[in-house]
Subunit: 335 residues, 2 copies
């Protein structure tokens, strides 16, 4: 567009016959400016194709107009959707997101947070993660902070969560209502609140109809496909019969699906299979996976709004998001 990339506020001031201060004022609308000068400035900016230097702005104003967003894994189905939500939520605001990947390693996470702070982000959104709670509490003291998918004691009003227990309860109940009694559960990493809550929902659903959950039917996975596969094999090995498997996320359901396929066990004819998350490709499993949808994009959006509110000094209220049962074809009535 222009070869000379060096148009500064001084050029505009000169061109419009006003002072730099005035230019700054029409730029930021901090103080009213007489209509004619205002027009002149606007015209000059348009004529010279002026773009303010973000660094000068940030240095002078102390604001960076950026929000740090820390995910745990680029390519994780659910987190990616949350990130997209954040992106969307920030779209019409002056703020831009800065993304980083914590790779589920506390050290990496903390380094990323430090980097964000060094870059003077105005706010921080953390999605999941293992970062120690003290660090989070400390960080929240220094910076507007929203945490998605974790529940940190003492930071309740900073945490945005989905009702995991309710979701797990609902899908377990759905299986029960279709006649299943022996329902296996492959959990996530139980150190994560969400995994623990899903396990709790599963147990409660069983208990509520008078079924005592059997320890042989519960096995801990790590949320990854591979672990779903191995857990299923382990389950089969243990020998305690079951007619359905509830995986704590869809990725593990994919793993379970493969293990069953390898053994020639049909889904849903021989074993019913359900997951949690409703990640984008779950509708394309063979058979399409019945699962629990979490409003991930909506949560990302909300996280963005919330962090902006925190920046403005408000204190957003963060609802517990509700899940939805998505019925597809991986479950059949128990016979």
């Amino acid at each position: 567009m222009s070869l000379n990339e060096k148009i500064t506020i001084a050029d505009i001031a000169a061109h419009a016959q006003v002072s730099k201060s005035t230019v700054s004022r029409v730029l930021n609308e901090t103080t009213p400016v007489a209509a004619d000068k205002r027009e002149a400035v606007l015209a000059a900016m348009a004529a010279l194709n002026y773009k303010p230097n973000v660094f000068a702005q940030s240095l002078a104003s102390g604001q960076s107009l950026s929000i740090g967003v820390l995910t745990q894994n680029f390519g994780s189905p659910v987190y990616d959707v949350i990130m997209r939500g954040v992106l969307l939520g920030l779209e019409e605001t002056p703020y831009s997101p800065l993304f980083a990947d914590g790779r589920w390693q506390p050290e990496t996470e903390q380094k990323a947070i430090e980097t964000f702070l060094d870059r003077r982000v105005d706010g921080l959104i953390l999605i999941g993660g293992y970062c120690p709670e003290e660090v989070l509490v400390e960080t929240a003291r220094r910076t507007p902070l929203i945490i998605v998918g974790r529940e940190v004691p003492g930071l309740h009003n900073h945490c945005l969560n989905v009702d995991n227990e309710q979701g797990a309860y609902a899908i377990t109940r759905y299986l029960i209502d279709l006649g299943h009694q022996d329902i296996a559960h492959i959990t996530g990493i139980l150190a994560h609140e969400d995994a623990a809550q899903r396990l709790q929902g599963y147990r409660q659903a069983l208990l509520d109809v008078g079924i005592e959950p059997h320890p042989d039917l519960v096995i801990e996975g790590n949320f990854r496909r591979q672990s779903g596969m191995m857990a299923t094999e382990m389950l089969l090995l243990r020998g305690r019969p079951f007619s359905a498997i509830f995986c704590a996320n869809d990725q593990m359901a994919f793993g379970a699906r493969l293990a069953l396929y390898r053994r020639g066990i049909r889904v849903p004819d021989d074993v019913s299979l359900v997951g949690f998350d409703d990640q984008p490709d779950s509708a394309f499993m063979t058979p399409p996976l019945t699962t629990i949808r979490q409003p991930a994009e909506e949560m990302g959006r909300m996280a963005a709004m919330a962090v902006l509110q925190l920046i403005k000094g408000g204190s957003p209220d963060l609802p517990l998001f509700q899940t939805e049962l998505v019925i597809r074809e991986s479950v059949s009535r128990h016979h």
Copy 2:
């Protein structure tokens, strides 16, 4: 850590009994500094837990130490891996990536590029996209630019690609060698070079063994799961028999898989199915998908290195990346 976040270079200077200039010099290693002063400065920085203000640095130096990375879709299996590669490639450098999502919309893309330029990124990595070629050429003139997954005329030495034709040729040939003669192909969006190249590889492989590609067996998809499903249904409707389907990417293969499942057509017993990309979940398709792997992470890494070289004034040479046939279980010998 510290309540007083305002430690500046002046504080360090005072504490170490030197001038600001000297502090700056030990910080940037631009000019040698006497050992004793150097130590004093380092000690002061450590004692006061000094963090340079990135904005001041960028403003003064004219460098932002950031690289803009434009993907087309957070959550796209292949692009996400490329992004991770970029992240890794930048890891040990002073540069940080800024990510944006073009959503496959030229306007969004261009806006994102403008935003990057406003933020004075030192370099730009574009992954895929529809942005008009003139814009790209212009952008490359202004800023170090690397484009992954597109071949833009006039910007050959800025484009990082995989040998799509070779990959498509190899996997088609693999099918042929197993006795398949009637091989359907669901293409990507043919306006994309990569889709066109994959189609070309498919055709060439057939022609090389004396098979004339039949137009009824080629159908254009759009790289998405849904389109793989619809294309397969269309293929079935057309009535021309085939024993294998080659999808231009794995996502469409998932769609095709579902369409076949719905019709009760077995994979690979009745129809063999192959894809392209080897996205992370392809190993967990039922049956696991035979496909072509592209070294996506490696490409992201290389893109990062290359853009850094461009920034330094070098001109990196960008190899055409080679693909690899990944044999799994979705193909059987034709009988």
